[in-house]
Symmetry: C2
Subunit: 208 residues, 2 copies
Protein backbone atom coordinates (compact mmCIF):
# COMPACT_ATOMS: atom_id res chain seq x y z
CA UNK A 1 0.00 0.00 0.00
CA UNK A 2 1.09 3.54 -0.66
CA UNK A 3 1.16 4.59 2.97
CA UNK A 4 3.21 1.58 3.92
CA UNK A 5 5.76 2.12 1.19
CA UNK A 6 6.02 5.75 2.06
CA UNK A 7 6.56 4.94 5.73
CA UNK A 8 9.23 2.38 4.98
CA UNK A 9 10.97 4.99 2.94
CA UNK A 10 11.11 7.72 5.54
CA UNK A 11 13.92 6.05 7.47
CA UNK A 12 15.74 4.93 4.34
CA UNK A 13 15.43 8.29 2.69
CA UNK A 14 16.67 10.13 5.75
CA UNK A 15 19.57 7.71 6.09
CA UNK A 16 20.43 8.18 2.44
CA UNK A 17 20.27 11.92 2.91
CA UNK A 18 22.57 11.79 5.90
CA UNK A 19 25.03 9.66 4.01
CA UNK A 20 24.92 12.04 1.11
CA UNK A 21 25.44 15.05 3.36
CA UNK A 22 28.53 13.37 4.78
CA UNK A 23 29.88 12.47 1.36
CA UNK A 24 29.47 15.94 -0.08
CA UNK A 25 30.87 17.61 3.01
CA UNK A 26 33.88 15.29 2.82
CA UNK A 27 34.32 15.92 -0.87
CA UNK A 28 34.14 19.66 -0.43
CA UNK A 29 36.63 19.78 2.43
CA UNK A 30 39.06 17.17 1.11
CA UNK A 31 39.16 18.72 -2.33
CA UNK A 32 39.89 22.07 -0.75
CA UNK A 33 42.30 21.13 2.03
CA UNK A 34 43.56 17.61 1.37
CA UNK A 35 42.64 14.43 3.20
CA UNK A 36 45.20 14.75 5.98
CA UNK A 37 44.07 18.24 6.86
CA UNK A 38 40.43 17.35 7.32
CA UNK A 39 39.27 15.65 10.52
CA UNK A 40 36.15 13.59 11.04
CA UNK A 41 34.94 16.39 13.26
CA UNK A 42 35.39 18.90 10.42
CA UNK A 43 33.39 16.68 8.11
CA UNK A 44 30.71 16.06 10.71
CA UNK A 45 30.41 19.77 11.48
CA UNK A 46 30.18 20.68 7.79
CA UNK A 47 27.58 17.95 7.25
CA UNK A 48 25.73 19.02 10.39
CA UNK A 49 25.81 15.56 11.97
CA UNK A 50 27.75 13.97 14.81
CA UNK A 51 31.11 12.25 14.51
CA UNK A 52 29.51 8.97 15.50
CA UNK A 53 27.18 9.26 12.54
CA UNK A 54 30.14 9.18 10.20
CA UNK A 55 30.94 5.74 11.53
CA UNK A 56 27.47 4.48 10.83
CA UNK A 57 28.25 4.80 7.13
CA UNK A 58 32.01 4.34 7.01
CA UNK A 59 34.15 2.00 9.01
CA UNK A 60 37.31 4.05 8.71
CA UNK A 61 38.13 7.59 7.66
CA UNK A 62 39.90 6.22 4.59
CA UNK A 63 36.75 4.52 3.37
CA UNK A 64 35.26 7.82 2.32
CA UNK A 65 37.84 7.93 -0.49
CA UNK A 66 36.54 4.76 -2.06
CA UNK A 67 33.14 6.46 -2.09
CA UNK A 68 34.45 9.65 -3.66
CA UNK A 69 35.76 8.05 -6.83
CA UNK A 70 33.70 4.93 -6.88
CA UNK A 71 31.68 6.30 -9.76
CA UNK A 72 33.29 5.01 -12.95
CA UNK A 73 36.81 4.46 -11.77
CA UNK A 74 36.41 0.73 -11.85
CA UNK A 75 34.10 0.46 -14.84
CA UNK A 76 36.55 1.76 -17.42
CA UNK A 77 37.74 -1.62 -18.62
CA UNK A 78 34.23 -2.97 -19.07
CA UNK A 79 33.17 0.07 -21.04
CA UNK A 80 36.09 -0.29 -23.41
CA UNK A 81 35.42 -3.94 -24.06
CA UNK A 82 31.88 -3.06 -25.02
CA UNK A 83 33.16 -1.02 -27.97
CA UNK A 84 33.18 -4.19 -30.08
CA UNK A 85 32.48 -2.41 -33.33
CA UNK A 86 35.66 -0.36 -33.08
CA UNK A 87 39.18 -1.39 -34.03
CA UNK A 88 42.10 -1.97 -31.69
CA UNK A 89 43.62 1.48 -32.11
CA UNK A 90 40.42 3.22 -31.36
CA UNK A 91 39.63 1.13 -28.31
CA UNK A 92 43.13 1.58 -26.94
CA UNK A 93 43.02 5.32 -27.48
CA UNK A 94 39.61 5.43 -25.86
CA UNK A 95 40.90 3.50 -22.87
CA UNK A 96 43.85 5.84 -22.35
CA UNK A 97 41.78 8.93 -22.80
CA UNK A 98 39.07 7.75 -20.44
CA UNK A 99 41.57 6.74 -17.80
CA UNK A 100 43.17 10.16 -17.78
CA UNK A 101 39.91 12.04 -18.10
CA UNK A 102 38.53 10.07 -15.19
CA UNK A 103 41.35 10.88 -12.81
CA UNK A 104 41.19 14.52 -13.85
CA UNK A 105 37.49 14.56 -13.12
CA UNK A 106 37.97 12.97 -9.73
CA UNK A 107 40.41 15.73 -8.83
CA UNK A 108 43.99 15.80 -7.71
CA UNK A 109 43.45 15.72 -3.94
CA UNK A 110 41.21 12.69 -4.03
CA UNK A 111 43.52 11.06 -6.51
CA UNK A 112 46.43 11.63 -4.13
CA UNK A 113 44.56 10.02 -1.31
CA UNK A 114 43.51 7.16 -3.51
CA UNK A 115 47.15 6.43 -4.24
CA UNK A 116 48.06 6.69 -0.57
CA UNK A 117 45.34 4.21 0.33
CA UNK A 118 46.10 1.79 -2.46
CA UNK A 119 49.87 1.89 -2.43
CA UNK A 120 49.72 -1.09 -0.13
CA UNK A 121 47.88 -4.02 -1.69
CA UNK A 122 44.23 -3.59 -0.80
CA UNK A 123 41.53 -5.92 -1.91
CA UNK A 124 38.47 -4.39 -3.49
CA UNK A 125 35.34 -6.02 -4.78
CA UNK A 126 34.44 -5.61 -8.44
CA UNK A 127 31.36 -7.52 -9.51
CA UNK A 128 31.70 -9.99 -6.62
CA UNK A 129 35.35 -10.75 -7.36
CA UNK A 130 38.02 -9.81 -4.89
CA UNK A 131 40.89 -8.22 -6.71
CA UNK A 132 42.97 -5.05 -6.85
CA UNK A 133 42.27 -2.21 -9.21
CA UNK A 134 45.62 -2.74 -10.83
CA UNK A 135 45.07 -6.44 -11.50
CA UNK A 136 41.70 -5.60 -12.87
CA UNK A 137 43.16 -3.00 -15.22
CA UNK A 138 45.97 -5.33 -16.20
CA UNK A 139 43.63 -8.15 -17.15
CA UNK A 140 41.39 -5.78 -19.06
CA UNK A 141 44.34 -4.47 -21.05
CA UNK A 142 45.54 -8.00 -21.78
CA UNK A 143 42.08 -8.90 -22.99
CA UNK A 144 42.06 -5.84 -25.23
CA UNK A 145 45.41 -6.81 -26.75
CA UNK A 146 44.46 -10.45 -27.18
CA UNK A 147 41.26 -9.39 -28.89
CA UNK A 148 43.47 -7.37 -31.26
CA UNK A 149 45.47 -10.51 -32.05
CA UNK A 150 42.34 -12.59 -32.49
CA UNK A 151 40.99 -10.13 -35.02
CA UNK A 152 44.27 -10.11 -36.89
CA UNK A 153 45.05 -6.47 -36.11
CA UNK A 154 48.17 -7.38 -34.17
CA UNK A 155 50.79 -10.03 -34.90
CA UNK A 156 50.81 -13.30 -32.99
CA UNK A 157 54.18 -12.58 -31.45
CA UNK A 158 53.05 -9.44 -29.64
CA UNK A 159 54.36 -9.63 -26.06
CA UNK A 160 50.94 -9.21 -24.50
CA UNK A 161 52.28 -9.43 -20.96
CA UNK A 162 54.79 -6.66 -21.28
CA UNK A 163 52.59 -4.55 -23.45
CA UNK A 164 49.70 -4.66 -20.98
CA UNK A 165 52.08 -3.94 -18.15
CA UNK A 166 53.66 -1.12 -20.10
CA UNK A 167 50.49 0.68 -21.06
CA UNK A 168 48.99 0.43 -17.60
CA UNK A 169 52.14 1.44 -15.76
CA UNK A 170 52.37 4.36 -18.14
CA UNK A 171 48.90 5.51 -17.15
CA UNK A 172 49.53 4.96 -13.46
CA UNK A 173 52.84 6.76 -13.88
CA UNK A 174 51.13 9.78 -15.41
CA UNK A 175 48.66 9.80 -12.53
CA UNK A 176 51.48 9.75 -10.00
CA UNK A 177 53.57 12.37 -11.77
CA UNK A 178 50.52 14.58 -11.98
CA UNK A 179 50.00 14.27 -8.23
CA UNK A 180 53.68 14.84 -7.53
CA UNK A 181 54.10 17.92 -9.67
CA UNK A 182 50.69 19.47 -10.23
CA UNK A 183 51.92 19.83 -13.81
CA UNK A 184 49.55 19.45 -16.73
CA UNK A 185 50.52 15.99 -17.89
CA UNK A 186 47.09 14.49 -18.17
CA UNK A 187 44.99 16.85 -20.29
CA UNK A 188 43.36 15.77 -23.53
CA UNK A 189 46.20 17.30 -25.60
CA UNK A 190 48.75 15.40 -23.58
CA UNK A 191 46.91 12.15 -24.09
CA UNK A 192 46.99 12.61 -27.84
CA UNK A 193 50.66 13.56 -27.82
CA UNK A 194 51.44 10.49 -25.79
CA UNK A 195 49.35 8.30 -28.04
CA UNK A 196 50.71 9.64 -31.33
CA UNK A 197 54.36 10.14 -30.45
CA UNK A 198 55.01 7.25 -28.13
CA UNK A 199 52.40 4.56 -28.11
CA UNK A 200 51.92 4.38 -31.87
CA UNK A 201 55.65 3.91 -32.62
CA UNK A 202 55.98 1.41 -29.78
CA UNK A 203 53.19 -0.67 -31.24
CA UNK A 204 54.39 -0.40 -34.85
CA UNK A 205 56.39 -3.66 -34.87
CA UNK A 206 53.36 -5.59 -33.73
CA UNK A 207 50.91 -4.14 -36.23
CA UNK A 208 49.78 -6.29 -39.11
Amino acid sequence: MGTLEKKIKIRQVRAAETRKKIVSAAKKLITKNGFENVSIEDIAKEADVSTGSFYTYFKKKEDIIEELNQADFYRLAEITNELTDKGFDERLKYYCREFLTEIERVGIEICRQWIRSNIAPVKIVISDNETTKYDHDYLAMRALIEEGVRRGELTDDVPADELALFINTQLYGLMVVWCMTDASVIGSDKTDEFYDNILTPALMPYKR
Copy 2:
Protein backbone atom coordinates in the same frame (compact mmCIF):
# COMPACT_ATOMS: atom_id res chain seq x y z
CA MET B 1 96.05 20.17 19.77
CA GLY B 2 95.34 16.47 19.82
CA THR B 3 93.43 16.51 23.07
CA LEU B 4 91.24 19.32 21.84
CA GLU B 5 90.40 17.62 18.58
CA LYS B 6 89.69 14.42 20.40
CA LYS B 7 87.43 16.17 22.85
CA ILE B 8 85.54 17.99 20.12
CA LYS B 9 85.04 14.68 18.43
CA ILE B 10 83.58 12.88 21.42
CA ARG B 11 80.42 14.93 21.16
CA GLN B 12 80.25 14.75 17.39
CA VAL B 13 80.93 11.06 17.32
CA ARG B 14 78.37 10.31 19.99
CA ALA B 15 75.81 12.46 18.22
CA ALA B 16 76.55 10.71 14.95
CA GLU B 17 76.24 7.36 16.69
CA THR B 18 72.91 8.29 18.23
CA ARG B 19 71.64 9.44 14.89
CA LYS B 20 72.81 6.24 13.29
CA LYS B 21 71.19 4.14 15.98
CA ILE B 22 67.91 5.93 15.32
CA VAL B 23 68.19 5.51 11.57
CA SER B 24 68.92 1.81 11.71
CA ALA B 25 66.24 1.16 14.29
CA ALA B 26 63.76 3.03 12.09
CA LYS B 27 64.88 1.16 9.00
CA LYS B 28 64.58 -2.19 10.72
CA LEU B 29 61.12 -1.55 12.13
CA ILE B 30 59.66 0.26 9.12
CA THR B 31 60.91 -2.37 6.70
CA LYS B 32 59.33 -5.04 8.86
CA ASN B 33 56.06 -3.41 9.86
CA GLY B 34 55.46 -0.44 7.58
CA PHE B 35 55.74 3.24 8.44
CA GLU B 36 52.23 3.64 9.81
CA ASN B 37 52.62 0.76 12.22
CA VAL B 38 55.80 2.04 13.81
CA SER B 39 55.61 4.78 16.44
CA ILE B 40 58.35 7.16 17.51
CA GLU B 41 58.33 5.35 20.82
CA ASP B 42 58.96 2.03 19.08
CA ILE B 43 61.89 3.52 17.21
CA ALA B 44 63.26 5.18 20.34
CA LYS B 45 62.98 1.97 22.34
CA GLU B 46 64.67 -0.07 19.63
CA ALA B 47 67.44 2.53 19.36
CA ASP B 48 67.74 2.75 23.13
CA VAL B 49 67.18 6.51 23.28
CA SER B 50 64.30 8.73 24.35
CA THR B 51 61.50 9.95 22.13
CA GLY B 52 62.73 13.48 22.53
CA SER B 53 66.09 12.46 21.14
CA PHE B 54 64.47 11.53 17.87
CA TYR B 55 63.48 15.15 17.50
CA THR B 56 67.03 16.34 17.98
CA TYR B 57 67.81 14.77 14.63
CA PHE B 58 64.52 14.86 12.76
CA LYS B 59 61.92 17.56 12.70
CA LYS B 60 59.03 15.27 11.81
CA LYS B 61 58.46 11.54 11.78
CA GLU B 62 58.27 11.64 7.98
CA ASP B 63 61.76 13.10 7.72
CA ILE B 64 63.28 9.75 8.58
CA ILE B 65 62.12 8.51 5.17
CA GLU B 66 64.19 11.07 3.33
CA GLU B 67 67.16 9.78 5.31
CA LEU B 68 66.43 6.15 4.53
CA ASN B 69 66.72 6.45 0.79
CA GLN B 70 68.79 9.58 0.53
CA ALA B 71 71.83 7.51 -0.44
CA ASP B 72 71.87 7.36 -4.23
CA PHE B 73 68.26 8.01 -4.98
CA TYR B 74 68.94 11.54 -6.13
CA ARG B 75 72.37 10.96 -7.66
CA LEU B 76 71.21 8.65 -10.41
CA ALA B 77 70.95 11.28 -13.10
CA GLU B 78 74.37 12.70 -12.40
CA ILE B 79 75.96 9.26 -12.52
CA THR B 80 74.40 8.54 -15.88
CA ASN B 81 75.56 11.79 -17.38
CA GLU B 82 79.07 10.96 -16.34
CA LEU B 83 79.06 7.93 -18.64
CA THR B 84 80.21 10.18 -21.49
CA ASP B 85 82.11 7.45 -23.27
CA LYS B 86 78.99 5.35 -23.76
CA GLY B 87 76.36 5.68 -26.47
CA PHE B 88 72.76 6.79 -26.00
CA ASP B 89 71.33 3.29 -25.83
CA GLU B 90 73.72 2.17 -23.20
CA ARG B 91 73.23 5.24 -21.03
CA LEU B 92 69.48 4.98 -21.27
CA LYS B 93 69.51 1.32 -20.40
CA TYR B 94 71.85 2.05 -17.53
CA TYR B 95 69.53 4.77 -16.27
CA CYS B 96 66.47 2.51 -16.32
CA ARG B 97 68.28 -0.38 -14.74
CA GLU B 98 69.78 1.76 -11.99
CA PHE B 99 66.46 3.41 -11.23
CA LEU B 100 64.74 0.08 -10.73
CA THR B 101 67.66 -1.52 -8.93
CA GLU B 102 67.79 1.41 -6.58
CA ILE B 103 64.14 1.23 -5.58
CA GLU B 104 64.46 -2.51 -5.12
CA ARG B 105 67.45 -1.99 -2.88
CA VAL B 106 65.64 0.61 -0.82
CA GLY B 107 62.85 -1.88 -0.20
CA ILE B 108 59.14 -1.86 -0.80
CA GLU B 109 57.97 -0.47 2.53
CA ILE B 110 60.27 2.52 2.42
CA CYS B 111 59.40 3.02 -1.21
CA ARG B 112 55.72 3.05 -0.29
CA GLN B 113 56.28 5.66 2.33
CA TRP B 114 58.41 7.70 -0.03
CA ILE B 115 55.52 7.83 -2.48
CA ARG B 116 53.09 8.75 0.29
CA SER B 117 55.32 11.60 1.37
CA ASN B 118 56.07 12.85 -2.11
CA ILE B 119 52.68 12.44 -3.71
CA ALA B 120 52.02 16.04 -2.73
CA PRO B 121 54.56 18.44 -4.23
CA VAL B 122 57.40 18.66 -1.74
CA LYS B 123 60.47 20.72 -2.27
CA ILE B 124 63.79 19.04 -1.71
CA VAL B 125 67.29 20.44 -1.99
CA ILE B 126 69.66 18.92 -4.53
CA SER B 127 73.02 20.67 -4.75
CA ASP B 128 71.59 23.91 -3.36
CA ASN B 129 68.71 24.01 -5.84
CA GLU B 130 65.18 23.69 -4.61
CA THR B 131 63.33 21.28 -6.84
CA THR B 132 61.32 18.09 -6.77
CA LYS B 133 62.76 14.67 -7.46
CA TYR B 134 60.54 14.34 -10.46
CA ASP B 135 61.58 17.63 -12.05
CA HIS B 136 65.15 16.66 -11.42
CA ASP B 137 64.68 13.30 -13.14
CA TYR B 138 62.77 14.90 -15.97
CA LEU B 139 65.50 17.43 -16.71
CA ALA B 140 68.16 14.74 -16.50
CA MET B 141 66.29 12.59 -19.00
CA ARG B 142 65.82 15.53 -21.35
CA ALA B 143 69.52 16.25 -21.15
CA LEU B 144 70.26 12.64 -21.95
CA ILE B 145 68.02 12.72 -25.00
CA GLU B 146 69.34 16.06 -26.19
CA GLU B 147 72.85 14.75 -25.84
CA GLY B 148 71.78 11.87 -28.09
CA VAL B 149 70.56 14.37 -30.68
CA ARG B 150 73.73 16.44 -30.42
CA ARG B 151 75.85 13.38 -31.07
CA GLY B 152 73.73 12.45 -34.05
CA GLU B 153 72.43 9.24 -32.50
CA LEU B 154 68.84 10.49 -32.57
CA THR B 155 67.03 12.49 -35.24
CA ASP B 156 66.44 16.21 -34.77
CA ASP B 157 62.70 15.78 -34.72
CA VAL B 158 62.65 13.56 -31.64
CA PRO B 159 59.93 14.85 -29.31
CA ALA B 160 62.28 15.27 -26.36
CA ASP B 161 59.53 16.58 -24.08
CA GLU B 162 57.21 13.66 -24.50
CA LEU B 163 59.97 11.13 -24.61
CA ALA B 164 61.47 12.32 -21.34
CA LEU B 165 58.04 12.40 -19.77
CA PHE B 166 57.26 8.96 -21.14
CA ILE B 167 60.39 7.22 -19.91
CA ASN B 168 60.22 8.75 -16.46
CA THR B 169 56.52 8.17 -15.98
CA GLN B 170 57.13 4.60 -17.05
CA LEU B 171 59.72 4.16 -14.31
CA TYR B 172 57.56 5.88 -11.71
CA GLY B 173 54.65 3.77 -12.89
CA LEU B 174 56.60 0.56 -12.38
CA MET B 175 57.53 1.73 -8.90
CA VAL B 176 53.90 2.40 -8.04
CA VAL B 177 52.60 -0.82 -9.53
CA TRP B 178 55.25 -2.70 -7.62
CA CYS B 179 54.08 -1.11 -4.38
CA MET B 180 50.43 -1.71 -5.24
CA THR B 181 50.74 -5.35 -6.16
CA ASP B 182 53.90 -6.70 -4.59
CA ALA B 183 54.36 -8.38 -7.98
CA SER B 184 57.79 -8.80 -9.50
CA VAL B 185 57.72 -6.02 -12.06
CA ILE B 186 61.04 -4.41 -11.29
CA GLY B 187 63.64 -7.17 -11.34
CA SER B 188 66.61 -7.16 -13.69
CA ASP B 189 64.84 -9.51 -16.12
CA LYS B 190 61.83 -7.25 -16.19
CA THR B 191 63.97 -4.23 -16.93
CA ASP B 192 65.49 -5.95 -19.93
CA GLU B 193 62.13 -7.14 -21.19
CA PHE B 194 60.78 -3.62 -20.90
CA TYR B 195 63.83 -2.19 -22.60
CA ASP B 196 63.93 -4.68 -25.46
CA ASN B 197 60.24 -5.15 -26.17
CA ILE B 198 58.88 -1.69 -25.51
CA LEU B 199 61.44 1.04 -25.27
CA THR B 200 63.52 -0.04 -28.27
CA PRO B 201 60.55 -0.16 -30.68
CA ALA B 202 59.21 3.12 -29.32
CA LEU B 203 62.53 4.80 -30.03
CA MET B 204 62.99 3.22 -33.46
CA PRO B 205 61.47 6.08 -35.48
CA TYR B 206 63.86 8.52 -33.86
CA LYS B 207 67.02 6.51 -34.37
CA ARG B 208 69.45 7.67 -37.01
